[in-house]
Subunit: 155 residues, 5 copies
């Protein structure tokens, strides 16, 4: 049975892991979820590495909500770099689901965005694991996770 | 038979993979294409690694269209860094074909650019794989992919 | 018996290692502490690697206090990147506890912050090592180390 | 017999590889040159890795001419990071010879600079390979490649 | 007998290696010094790696003097990143001793700073190698190398 790792943080101001898990379970069966919560986004790379190598996960989602200050942006950059390295070392995908605190115009929109983006990336996660041809069919379509799709360019 | 990996994204607003594949097939024979579509540019490094190690590709193209916001620039930077790492680890080339959304003055030009750059890098891909001497002949000529060549410096 | 590595610096203007060790010992038993002090934050990555591989630590805390100039920010960024790499290579957590000199409005607040953040991350360290379920229970709660928690988003 | 790898690009607006090779041959004998031309600077890291591991080069020169836009600066940064990684992995030197398009006041000066810097780094390459004591003798002398030397600080 | 590697550059405008070696020899005995001079700071990471793996050094100092332009800052950043990677790969310390050309108000101060910082880091190098307890005793004391110590925070 396939295993999906869910790495999330106590720093985030929304329980993104819960949204992701709910969406995963609503759309597919035949997999097991291992959840691992760490303090902040910079702890996510090693969390995913451990989910892959100690828990034998086949894929992971790394969910976090970086703050809006320059130092927070830098932390997110460092976390992303590490998340890419882990994927390269393990030959496994990590869906990075970051919601930056300044992406929403208010707390209400941010709340919606954190839930929505987590759910849409959960679908990406399922597609990568079970139906990669779904993604190929959408290649170049200008899809976005959370806010509405940009759509394909008009000639 | 040689294998060429094509990694592209659903985030892109143009089907760059299709243009690349069309150009590859129009210019050479005797290779097989493996296409792998992922959500965004940050998923491309591991996609290429998997194309090399699980699909035995000899070379890959990584096609994406980063957005125009600062966070998009940062994502592109992280993706590029990962793409370089994968090449180093595998001793194989990845042609990075990124079109930034702010490179075109409007959607029409961006549409043209995404197609044209994908096609010109497809030729680079074929040259690296089958005719590296073609590139040596053009060393220092100020070539550009997409927009017109800068040309050699005038003394 | 578990081993906790404490890597700190002579550059820091507060003895963060001492606060961390005091908090660790006040909250749990059954572990050994190995302390390793280096000149600055850029020496912390290899210090942690040595704590893991030469001293067999199971987890580490990397405590430092970067200055407020642009070059200091860059040093902190380089140190953080290295700290993430070490975690990935060793499959072990490092709690990065950095207090930037411009985070406090005066020396007094900085003093308080350096102590408080070291102590709160010491608790995170104990949770990761002994009670990871404590962190999962706090997922998405907007926790902060040092200053007050941001709390969960209001819908 | 020693082997020197010359990695250059079709993006450059001057045939820097030719200048480097000419200077190498004018100053020393007893080595073989392997030239490898790639599209742009981001292809140089893997090109050098292949020169080391597939062609058994003992040292390499990586010559390129990044453009003047912010995105070009970022590409150069990514390329440099990769070039350093390859050196670390292979325990071999790569002389990075980059001329940024905005370093010259006009095309004529850029033309001169690209030739001159390539030649001066070719001498560094020969020194590292055959006469490292030449470099030690010049330690702290404020040498520059291309434009005139800064010279040692005056007390 | 312990071996200390001294990696320095011809780019620097002060013979920092000489100051470091003089200070090392004035304060301790029972070690051997291996000096290795390279063109610039970006050549220091592999120089240190070679000092560790080909010359069996136990520790190294990497001394350089980056220029004051943005591109020089970027080179220093790339060099620092590589120096941290080498330490992580080898489990050995490298004391990075960089003096930025804009750190001094004039050539005279820069001259003084380059000498002083090299000497103070030479003491750090000896402490890490022979007396690590000296550093622990100074933890959190706000030490600086070159300019005067910041000192501990006042409550």
């Amino acid at each position: 049975m396939k295993k999906i790792g869910i790495a999330d943080t106590t720093f985030a101001r929304f329980d993104m892991g819960k949204s992701a898990i709910d969406e995963l379970k609503s759309n597919h069966t035949g997999f097991k979820i291992i959840r691992y919560t760490v303090p902040g986004v910079k702890d996510l790379p090693v969390a995913c590495k451990k989910l892959f190598e100690e828990q034998n996960c086949d894929i992971a989602m790394a969910l976090g909500m970086p703050g809006s200050k320059p130092i927070d942006k830098q932390c997110a950059h460092e976390a992303s770099t590490g998340i890419i390295q882990v994927q390269i070392l393990c030959n496994k995908h990590i869906l990075e689901v970051f919601v930056h605190e300044d992406e929403g115009k208010d707390e209400k929109e941010l709340f919606w965005l954190a839930d929505q983006r987590s759910r849409e990336h959960a679908i990406n996660c399922l597609d990568l694991l079970f139906n990669p041809e779904n993604l190929t069919r959408e290649a170049g379509k200008g899809l976005r996770e959370g806010f509405e799709d940009a759509g394909p360019l008009r000639m």
